[in-house]
């Protein structure tokens, strides 16, 4: 464990909050962000999103995660009581470190996005391969 306190990777974010798109709402998912020496790990709660309905875009240092939800068809039922509303998810982050975009891994597991962003360049301790003669 390093003693120094590193600059916070997620400097700012544009929180989309709640927004209407094609008569479907868009929510900001709850996230945990963990930093290790080599990676930034993002866990996001996106229940109802399948792997195929997930979109992760890294443009320069702006990371966007997006998920669309197939809402259940409940034609023959009345909504008796509601604590949540179905909708899509979107959240945007600005990253401080350079990311090795070739090695980004994104996987949905039980409605949770597991996103691994490996650090690149000076953000990471460079390992120099030693050639044998």
């Amino acid at each position: 464990m390093t003693e120094e306190t590193r600059a916070i990777q997620v400097q700012q974010e544009q929180r989309p909050a709640v927004r209407e798109t094609r008569s479907r709402r868009v929510f900001a998912p709850a996230v945990d962000i963990v930093e290790t020496n080599d990676d930034i790990l993002v866990l996001a709660d996106m229940p109802g999103v399948r792997q195929d309905d997930l979109e992760v875009v890294l443009e320069k240092n702006v990371l966007t995660i997006r998920g669309t939800v197939q809402l259940p068809a409940m034609q023959d039922y009345d909504l008796e009581y509601a604590e949540y509303e179905g909708g899509d998810y979107e959240r945007v982050f600005t990253l401080a470190d350079d990311i090795d975009r070739e090695k980004i891994e994104a996987e949905m597991k039980h409605g949770v996005l597991h996103l691994r962003l490996p650090k690149a360049g000076p953000a990471r301790i460079r390992r120099i391969p030693v050639k044998t003669g």
Binding site: A17, D32, T36, D45, R50, P72, Y84
Partner: protein
């Protein structure tokens, strides 16, 4: 005007209508004052209840749990949902930069509008959404009473 046959049913219908109007109002309100953090609003997990005359469907947004550790029980008209979402084990040298997701144990109890046939309850977990189908107990269902026509009515007198 005809008196409603089941006054409580009429009341439920009115309640539902009120709920619907309230949700509509909240929806309008939200477009002007967006809810910033939806996940802080309600207890974990948030639930929806759908009903018709024969059964209720409860859906819960429960991402990232082990469904085998989920405990579901039904007693008459009450559903109890218990479980836990474990703390992430961080690798050596890792630090949280942000921590918003629910962690820990949860228990929710809800009363449904009718008694449930506990033996026929089914639960299904997919993509982090739990769907519980709760059939209404036979004894609780309103009975349809057949009206038999008298023989003499069959022919025109």
């Amino acid at each position: 005007m005809l008196e409603p046959l089941f006054p409580w049913r009429e009341m439920r219908r009115m309640e539902r209508e009120m709920d619907r109007m309230q949700r509509e109002m909240e929806r309008m309100f939200d477009t002007f004052f967006p809810r910033r953090r939806r996940w802080m609003e309600v207890e974990f997990p948030p639930l929806n209840i759908w009903t018709n005359n024969d059964q209720a469907i409860v859906t819960a947004e429960l991402p990232g749990i082990n469904p085998e550790e989920l405990e579901l029980s039904v007693n008459n008209d009450t559903l109890i949902l218990r479980g836990k979402r474990l703390v992430n084990h961080l690798p050596e040298g890792a630090r949280y930069q942000r921590r918003e997701r629910f962690q820990g144990e949860f228990a929710r109890s809800l009363q449904l509008p009718f008694a449930i046939d506990a033996d026929k309850v089914e639960a299904h977990y997919e993509n982090g959404v739990l769907t519980i189908t709760l059939p209404r107990a036979e004894a609780d269902k309103p009975k349809r009473i057949a009206v038999h026509a008298a023989e003499s009515n069959g022919k025109e007198g």
